[in-house]
Subunit: 236 residues, 2 copies
DNA sequence: CGCGGGGTTGAACATTCTCAAGAACTGTGG
DNA sequence: CCACAGTTCTTGAGAATGTTCAACCCCGCG
């Protein structure tokens, strides 16, 4: 874990703006001068694959923004079982609980691959938020999406059977890929996928085989899947 | 559903402030003049028990704040099963998705009892948010709590068995009640409780009976429960 | 060529759901 | 204040669904 100062400002301009790619989603509406102010308080840290970025129970006092790499956020239930919450891609952020109250992390963040993260301490982000309401609006919007996602996830796990959950997940993976011969790459291992969907790796495995036998999908290797029949999947 | 203008401003002052009780959580830090501005854009509507306040799929264009009464927010899964998301008490708000983007409601809101609701249209709330960053911070803080709750809920349903979910729920109901002879009143019917916890009314019933047989609780009528052994419950 | 980590498969088992019937509660009207 | 009607809740038994645990497989890698 190597700390550098202001890594983002080392980057070449992008589209004539000083904003580095990873900060765009939150700050891309700011003027240059405002951006300078942001850059003043941004620090950067590198994590190797497998390193833990923060743990549940630790004091939360920064906003983290993924610069490049991939980070998995997961929770541990009372009984010690792990549940994947989401995977952060470059530009995504986490640590939001730190923003408003002295508090502890509720989840774990782990680098899935070598990852570089920009972070901003609470005091600094709070100043920015007060000074530039537009940033708060951006974060509110992001929160709103995430809340929507979390509630939907809870509903899905609570009310749908495993077949449906897995099928729906596959279909959601297609997204912007062309409808025909949709080829998806699972973003995580069976274990993580299972915990994300509230089931076990064995069950995921079995259901995928069932889908393949039914002609809905074709598995190639561990993470590659061809979706042959979207409608079939959705009717499961 | 009867609409009145500015019901809140009709109310007598409370603690020397003009804020009506229901608006306090979001606006209680505002000055009188700012409060006046808020009052300008607040409308109020009454709903009778059982009436639907909004449905999933309808355009979302207001922030709703419960003035008095009780509102249940629930979702319908693809397969048509209902899941309780939460129950709103006076001072709670909903409709947050409306705040940042033209969008549709993702859930249903239904008055559990006769209920009065204040609402603020998107255009108005957006002006307020830009003008007074502190309001955005309040809402962000609320969002952050709700997100935390939703993710925790998803994890609980995904990883814990029904016994544990119910036991934990009971214990959470105690909260500010004194430890000794904790007497809780369930906030909802078996059916809603079941859907909240991702199970069925029958199972809830059975598990409660089991807890009673084990001496952890004592049921009185349908909604009253005495918690006799918190530790016992938590070990389930 | 053997090692190791994920992934898959199988069989027994546990949990929870479903459906159906009966009991208890709540609120209403007499 | 009681009785009735309509809900809601409870209980039972069988069936479905998933989990567990153990063995095995596949494949990349030293």
């Amino acid at each position: 874990m190597v700390e550098e100062k202001n890594i983002c400002s080392h980057h070449p301009n992008i589209n004539g703006s000083r904003a580095c790619v990873s900060l765009v989603p939150i700050f891309n509406h700011l003027t240059e001068e405002q951006m300078d102010e942001v850059m003043e308080v941004v620090r950067s840290v590198a994590f190797k694959k497998g390193e833990i970025i923060y743990r549940a129970g630790e004091a939360a006092n920064s906003l983290y923004i993924i610069h490049h790499g991939q980070v998995k956020i997961y929770r541990l239930s009372e009984s010690g079982k792990e549940q994947m919450i989401r995977i952060l891609q470059p530009g995504d952020f986490t640590g939001e609980f730190a923003l408003f109250k002295q508090s502890e992390h509720q989840a774990y963040a782990e680098a899935l691959i070598d990852t570089q993260i920009c972070f901003i301490r609470r005091e600094d982000i709070q100043k920015l938020l007060s000074a530039y309401p537009a940033i708060a609006l951006k974060i509110l919007s992001e929160f709103s999406d995430r809340l929507e996602h979390a509630e939907k996830q809870a509903t899905t796990i609570a009310t749908e059977k495993v077949d449906t959950r897995i099928a729906t997940f596959l279909v959601e993976c297609i997204e912007d890929v062309e409808q025909e011969k949709a080829h998806i790459v699972l973003p995580m291992s069976r274990k993580d996928l299972a915990s994300y969907l509230g089931t076990t790796p064995e069950t995921v495995s079995r259901k995928l085989t069932e889908f393949e036998d039914a002609g809905f999908i074709k598995q190639n290797g561990q993470r590659n899947i061809q979706i042959l029949d979207v409608d079939g999947l959705l009717l499961v």
